[in-house]
Subunit: 398 residues, 3 copies
């Protein structure tokens, strides 16, 4: 589909209705999305606990890209493109490891942890090593979370930092560790997966495990009373009362969505567990449970569920036009010991069961959207956030 | 391939020769076929015995489409598109079942068996339910067989009804049941599968099991004597002597091919069994075996073998440009009991072994057609019906 | 990609640097390559020992093509396209066998071993058998090796014959047999596989088994002393001292690359074995081991390693745009008996372990080349032959 055809399609899009079929099926649109969204946005790549020591690295992979996130020294972490400057081979083949130097397995070119080319045999006399460092991409560490941005001249991370800093302080996310990380591949266009995440209209019919415990499953106005209690209690245990909502068109630029929004748990639940009881030691400086939880959003494809005792990170990545990956990370207090302070099985239970259900839901959504008889349908009151995503997307593609 | 290129290709097609390679390989041509043939034709979807009771349904799936064939009440059967009007999810996920109401598993929108939207939570005040019924497609029940047509303004079914009614009466197909149904996926373009079905030139070299028993394996003129005997005997057992032949270009419109044509069995065979003996109780009002059988054809991709004691339905469906599905249904008298009145293994033996052989033949045909050195070859006298298909196809694509 | 776009891309290609990404990813370029290289070149198809007796045949398969290489009689071997002239079916389904006549499994058309149509049932009276022989492609037997060329008017094989004849005589390749043949499918564009074969810059970092024994792993100038010794000794055991180098742009035409180039083994190795000791009886008239080996090259995608006691043939074939096959054949003296005169396990050890390593290397090269951040890199002094390939390729595509 050419730019003109995309433009015509966009002008046919009715506000308040889901996207037209072509947006989920056209290869030309997919390429535009890669360029306009994924190559411009701040993307959650991993956590500092993965690379505590000098030389430790892990790979962040998305679409055709592979990035080496490596600790150069105590104060420096680099994001290097995993593409040898000689003939293009992947330099690191393992998903993580420790390397003093990075040696390409093909012809043995070696690079410093800064990316600088250190050695290359048998080159011609006029060869200038300084022109062949591994390419770098922008990297920002924020409360222990590592974000990267593929853009040469990326949008500033400052707005995220400024707006979310205060809310995040009590969680001490830089003092957490990854308890578990898992991929859930989904046979659908990435947008159907993100849209699914962006609304809780489906929570009651589809996620009994979540719905019985989380106020987000019900219209906001019904939650006002409970929310007030949570806010009061939250303040006492050290959590911020702020509600930050700079998502989608309100974010002021592509790739810097940011929000922090608390809402009540139900029936006496104190965290996202089976039964409602605590799952792990409290995070950071939090002094207790307030009966609530928070939704966070940083960049357009990363979402967070911040409980008092653990944080769940959802990161959505397109694999191809019609496949996507939902990558989930569970963070707990860095001092927590598995088996002693928390049960891994119980920790991941809720979001594992919920994501398995969503995978099925999303794939059946894609099947229906593929029909010639699919027609965009109307959003409801409980899909306002998803509608925000669609409005942003339509604006962005123009 | 553009319409102009398709047009040029068609003008290069020599009458009496097989189709040029591009017709089996080009995605643009495949899309045209979907629009011009599969979206316009009457397609066999299933049998009334599958949905005897109110609320019983089964899915008919073809290409990207899924249709819910559901019994609304005693007198009404509906064909509803399996695409929720909210955000497009599949509504029914199981291949068959019984449902009072149809509830979308995503957000819980519920529909009546008529397709009307019954309930949707949290919609905006101006939401008008009457605009969001499941879309319907045309449905026709003919002698117990359910046909659907995706066209908004479908060609009339009347010609099929008028021409085949008398021939079908003795079989009482509305009083049969499905003994077995099986898919045979084939790695080829759908046309090579249909062409294979449309000629018996290959029966002697490829299907010894069929050829030893069926007169169709030999030139028509050699069968005249035997056919006369069958016709005389057929009249006595209640079968029609008519030969109806409104296929392809003779059908008078796209999607209403219809034929009924009897021919003799050989060596004393009375049905399509291993050895020639009866397989199941006689169908309907048929009073015995006449030593013959009938070929039927309803719509362009559904073919029938009507023996006195069972009917075999072949339904061909494209899956992608280069894969197809051959779906076979075996019908027996509704009063017949498996194990007592018929052996399922023996019932399906002939057409199972024949289709397994054809799958291999057709796939090797596609491999050869893919070669740069493939060149359309001449049809023979025993491929007249296939040539009719090709002539019709070429005309249709113009 | 259109011809104009390919042309623009070619003009952006910097000499001395690896190819731009599109050359490894674009379907239009791949089609051009098929037409300009694979349909025009002399391709190694097999060895006469495979078809000693009348009626013996084997299939050579590449891309969409399948060719029947069959012995018609004592003096004649034919290359027949495996595409029935009736409706295009594959005629031979088995990879090898013996057939007096070739009968198509679909409708039973039978062909002579010359390809002539012998019989076809039920054809119309005006059918002229002489117009429906299996199509043939050019075939040339050279020192027992069978080459084919798909071009209607192929470039002459004479240059290969004239230049390599003398070098090949001592090996008596027509008196060898195939000890083993194996496919190594590679998930990469075919050019990355050929490029990998064309340089030994990677041998030291990637192939310790090869590098410790073969002088090719080091710059040519370091090998001059050893090479002199090998040449002197080689003369004594009957090998030619010639160095033939008509590869790539020096070949004088597409598809007739030819070279024979000797180089020393190291550390007292006499052949490409684990440890350096002989692997099999000496080939042909060779009277001993000279401590060297030879690289040969016939046509653009077939390479040879000629040791004194065995020959290894590398044949590279594209399967799709992004998959290729590396097919390796091990030839030994036809009188050698497995288990007695040679161990198959030891015979294939070196090039099996090396190719398994290369498969991994090449696939990781493709992954890196797929990145938006890949940029053609500079060749080194040890990649001159590969650079020759790239220069030839760029010239050819213009």
């Amino acid at each position: 589909m050419s730019m003109t055809e995309i433009s015509d399609l966009l002008s046919n899009q009715t506000k308040g209705f889901s996207l037209q079929q072509k947006f989920y099926k056209d290869p030309g649109i997919y390429q535009q999305e890669m360029d306009r969204i994924f190559m411009k946005s701040w993307l959650y790549a991993g956590h500092v606990s993965q690379i505590k020591n000098v030389g430790e690295y892990f790979l962040y992979e998305m679409d055709t890209e592979s990035v080496i996130i490596i600790r150069e020294d105590k104060d420096t972490v680099n994001a290097l493109m995993n593409v040898c400057r000689h003939r293009g081979s992947r330099v690191c083949l393992q998903a993580s490891g420790t390397q003093k130097l990075l040696a390409c397995p093909y012809h043995g070119w070696t690079y410093e942890r800064s990316g600088a080319l250190r050695g290359a045999n048998h080159t011609y006399p006029d060869f200038d090593k300084s022109g062949y460092a591994l390419k770098t991409v922008n990297l920002k560490i924020f409360h222990g979370m590592i974000f990267i941005n593929f853009d040469k001249d990326p949008i500033s991370f400052d707005a995220i930092e400024k707006d979310l800093d205060e809310c995040l302080i009590p969680y001490c996310l830089d003092k957490t560790k990854i308890a578990h990380k898992q991929s859930y591949p989904i046979k659908s266009n990435w947008k159907l997966a993100v849209e699914n995440y962006c609304e809780c209209y489906h929570c009651v019919p589809s996620h009994p495990e979540y719905a019985e415990a989380h106020g987000r499953s019900f219209p906001e106005e019904e939650m006002q009373g409970l929310l007030k209690q949570v806010m009061e209690k939250g303040e006492k245990i050290g959590l911020s009362n702020s509600s930050i909502n700079y998502d989608w068109l309100d974010s002021g630029g592509v790739g810097i969505d940011r929000s922090y929004d608390r809402y009540p748990l139900l029936k006496g639940f104190v965290t996202g567990s089976r039964g409602g009881k605590p799952l792990a030691p409290l995070l950071g400086d939090i002094k207790g449970y307030d009966g609530g939880t928070a939704d966070m959003h940083i960049g357009p494809i990363t979402f967070y569920l911040a409980y008092c005792d653990h944080v769940v990170i959802y990161h959505f990545k397109p694999l191809t036009l019609d496949t996507a990956d939902c990558e989930i990370t569970w963070l707990v207090n860095e001092r927590a010991e598995e088996g002693k302070d928390y049960s891994l099985k119980e920790l991941i239970w809720l979001w594992d069961v919920t994501t398995i259900a969503d995978k099925c839901i999303i794939e059946n959504n894609q099947k229906g959207v593929n029909s010639r008889f699919y027609q965009p349908g109307p959003f409801t009151k409980m899909e306002e956030f998803e509608q925000g995503f669609v409005d942003w997307y339509v604006d962005l593609m123009k």
